[in-house]
């Protein structure tokens, strides 16, 4: 029973990272209709920058994390404005062409950013200097809760809750959804879609960056490949949760994490990913709108 609870906690902490990354990934997909292959690189970059902020600039952990998040956001904005903005002149009338073009430019950025990240880390897998981040382990009854697991869970709760509130309760959220639906329709209300798009890209990059930093600490692995693992599972979380549903993504992320850990503990670690992806496929087939099933509008 203790083992079950301990693994449940481990699964949730792992899933929190998937959910967090997925929220960033889903934001870009829901708002801009872009399947962004470069999203994983934002996580790698944020983790690398945060690590160097501690190692070279000597910043304390919270500031370094902020620097990493800002870097993730900045890279995301850069990718958006250099890689996606030129393609938006296709206009809303030609969605498939625009989506396809953006997928390709995002692949181009993925190649470039990953390769540059490899140069920044000297092709090594690095880690935050020991002792530079909270490393206490809390004892809760029979359970051990390392501080970073608590931070991951907290981050998912805060970011997930905050983004859900922002998306559904604020005028910025409404503007984001409006731009995602149709930039011209949003502009009819006076919304400058370019500002919203840049802000959304930055937000998405920052959130994925935060996921990257937390993953980099809890796995003691900061490298160019950090983001790719997050991306595959984050992508699954987005689809299972419903791509425009932040609550759904967060919960689906937790679910995937728990599923993964339980499969490894009780079934077979080699079929572990098969369960995750089979769940993903099942949702695509049976509940393509995700856990909570959103409205169901097709774009024009």
């Amino acid at each position: 029973m203790d083992l079950f609870l301990a693994q449940l906690l481990n699964g949730c902490a792992l899933g929190a990272l998937y959910g967090l990354f997925g929220i960033g990934f889903g934001l870009v997909f829901a708002t801009m209709g872009i399947l962004n292959a470069a999203q994983g690189a934002y996580a790698s970059w944020a983790a690398i920058i945060a690590m160097y902020a501690i190692e070279l600039a000597g910043l304390p952990f919270p500031l370094a994390a902020l620097a990493g998040i800002a870097a993730g956001g900045a890279v995301a904005v850069l990718v958006d404005q250099l890689g996606f903005e030129p393609l938006r002149r296709f206009g809303p009338g030609n969605h498939q062409a625009a989506m396809l073009g953006a997928l390709i430019t995002s692949i181009a950025f993925w190649i470039m950013l990953d390769s540059a990240a490899g140069l920044m880390t000297g092709q090594q897998s690095l880690a935050f200097p020991p002792g530079s981040y909270p490393a206490t382990v809390f004892q809760i009854g029979p359970l051990l809760l390392p501080a970073m697991q608590a931070v991951s869970l907290l981050a998912l709760a805060v970011v997930g809750g905050g983004m859900h509130w922002l998306n559904t309760r604020t005028r910025f959220g409404a503007a984001m959804r409006a731009v995602g639906w149709d930039p011209v329709a949003a502009a009819l209300g006076g919304v400058n879609s370019r500002v919203i798009v840049v802000a959304t890209a930055g937000l998405a990059g920052g959130i994925s960056g935060l996921a990257g930093i937390l993953a980099g600490i809890s796995t003691a692995n900061i490298s160019a490949g950090l983001g790719q693992g997050l991306m595959l599972k984050g992508f699954a979380a987005v689809v299972v949760g419903g791509y425009d549903d932040i609550r759904g993504t967060a919960i689906a992320g937790l679910l995937l994490g728990v599923l993964e850990v339980f499969c490894a503990q009780y079934l077979s670690s080699s079929w572990r990913d098969a369960f995750a992806y089979a769940l993903l496929l099942g949702f695509l087939m049976l509940r393509p709108r995700g856990l909570f099933g959103g409205g169901g509008f097709t774009r024009a």
Partner: protein, 231 residues
């Protein structure tokens, strides 16, 4: 209020608007009539900043707006109700309306009250998802959204299109009411009869040119109207 002069616009090699002049004085309701493909919608898209014109000037209260983008035009005080409504389907009625706070024009609460007074139907369905409403309700919402930006100039593109006759009456009653309150309006309409019933002045377009203009009572039975629609 709005003055368009020597406006020329094209799609690639096809010239859709060939140098037209239109004047909408303050407080008037001016109609732009013509058959399908006459160039009316292109003219409006140019005015709204969605389609970039080749030459010509578009002035709002004396200020040039022909090089502005749609959201900038809206923020200057020209609101646009496009053909096909273009409401934001996944948003609720009220969210669609309050998007306009981005235009930064006027007291939002007062504007919202005014829109709900004009269209009580919208007030009833304020939490309703816009995409699930009927065409007539969506048209009301599109007009409401335009009004939420406290426009100096309201531009409507084919507001009667695809609506049941009873709803068309409701929409045009509202347009007439706005006109009475002193709202400057440019109305593009295929249904000449109904447009001529509410406007102060009308232009008739054919193949990208203005072929006639005048007061509704003089145009109503003119040969130009008949020819513009038939030929």
């Amino acid at each position: 209020m709005l003055s368009i002069s020597q406006l020329k616009a094209s799609y690639g090699a096809i010239t859709a608007v060939r140098g037209i002049d239109i004047e909408v004085p303050r407080g008037t309701l001016v109609a732009l009539l013509g058959a399908n493909g006459a160039g009316k919608s292109t003219t409006l898209r140019a005015v709204a900043g969605i389609h970039r014109p080749i030459t010509g000037s578009i002035r709002l209260d004396g200020a040039e707006i022909s090089r502005l983008k749609l959201h900038q035009v809206v923020r200057r005080g020209l609101a646009f109700v496009p053909e096909g409504r273009m409401v934001v389907a996944p948003l609720s009625v009220e969210e669609n309306l309050t998007l306009s706070s981005y235009a930064g024009r006027g007291d939002q609460a007062a504007l919202l009250a005014r829109v709900y007074a004009l269209f009580p139907r919208l007030a009833e369905r304020r939490k309703q998802t816009a995409g699930l409403m009927s065409g007539g309700e969506q048209q009301m919402l599109a007009i409401g959204r335009a009004l939420m930006t406290a426009p100096a100039m309201l531009v409507l593109d084919e507001p009667s299109m695809g609506l049941a006759p009873a709803i068309v009456d409701v929409v045009f009653d509202a347009i007439a009411a706005l006109h009475r309150q002193g709202q400057s309006i440019l109305l593009v309409e295929q249904n000449a009869a109904i447009a001529l019933g509410v406007c102060d002045f009308a232009y008739v377009m054919k193949r990208g040119e203005i072929v006639a203009s005048g007061k509704p009572e003089t145009l109503r039975d003119s040969a130009e109207i008949a020819e513009a629609y038939l030929g």
